[in-house]
Symmetry: C2
Subunit: 120 residues, 2 copies
DNA sequence: ACTACTGTACTAATCACTTAGTACAATAAT
DNA sequence: ATTATTGTACTAAGTGATTAGTACAGTAGT
């Protein structure tokens, strides 16, 4: 996967979000070993340094941890993954509502527009 | 308004989005004169250079135009404003659906979650 | 033992964004 | 006429993101 990179936001942030998404959606499972920094960088089409920055930042959240010379692994704490999933969903919906309100809609109108879009 | 600035995206991009929002929501009307670059910069709490970059970029979309020494004005083309409003709304909803699908939901579930959030 | 692979660390160079500061020409207001 | 305000242009400096390149220590597989 060449990874959808947006130039107006730091690449390492987008990588973090992408990996978080892969974890909460079960693409990676609790305890799974991640590909190496170099392989992930090659897959994503970015410099290994950029990938390492993304991973070491991600590590500080506890979501992944590295074994010095054997690889990097997803946390075994399944509750942490579940909580992150909930948090990401909440943020997504909340941001959407805020953005739509900024465009002049109230909650009732937002629901209408969403239903309308789904039945496009 | 001190302007909500997010450090992980270029400030001038956020300024552009903010002004676009003010235009499509009628905070600025067609033909209105904008405050000066310096005043807008002071209000937003950014450097005048940053504000000028935002405004001159915004100008290339035709949404605003500058009269060399008398000021900067919102377009008189009300259809352009209406079209931008529609485009921004569509993009917002589409992005939301894409992000939620990436989190593993289908359209039916998205609608449910949105209704649930509104009645929180 | 040897080889390949792992995460990690470091320097250097480049680029975009931001800020500070200064300056100029044209219009508006007085 | 004079003054203030307008958009615009320019240089210089600082910061952060990215890339390129190199290197090292520990582990796994052979």
């Amino acid at each position: 996967m060449p990874l959808n990179l947006n130039l107006d936001r730091p690449i390492f942030v987008q990588i973090i979000e992408h990996i978080e998404n892969d974890i909460v959606t079960g693409k990676y499972n609790s305890g799974d070993k991640l590909p190496s920094v170099r392989d992930l960088a090659a897959e994503a089409g970015v410099n290994p340094n950029t990938m390492q920055k993304a991973l070491s930042d991600l590590e500080q959240t506890g979501l992944v941890h590295s074994e010095r010379t054997s690889g990097r692994f997803i946390t075994e704490d399944e509750n942490m993954i579940k909580d992150l999933r909930t948090a990401l969903i909440d943020m997504e919906i909340e941001d959407f509502f805020n953005n739509m309100k900024r465009l002049g809609f109230d909650e009732e109108q937002i629901i209408q527009l969403v239903e309308q879009f789904a039945n496009k």
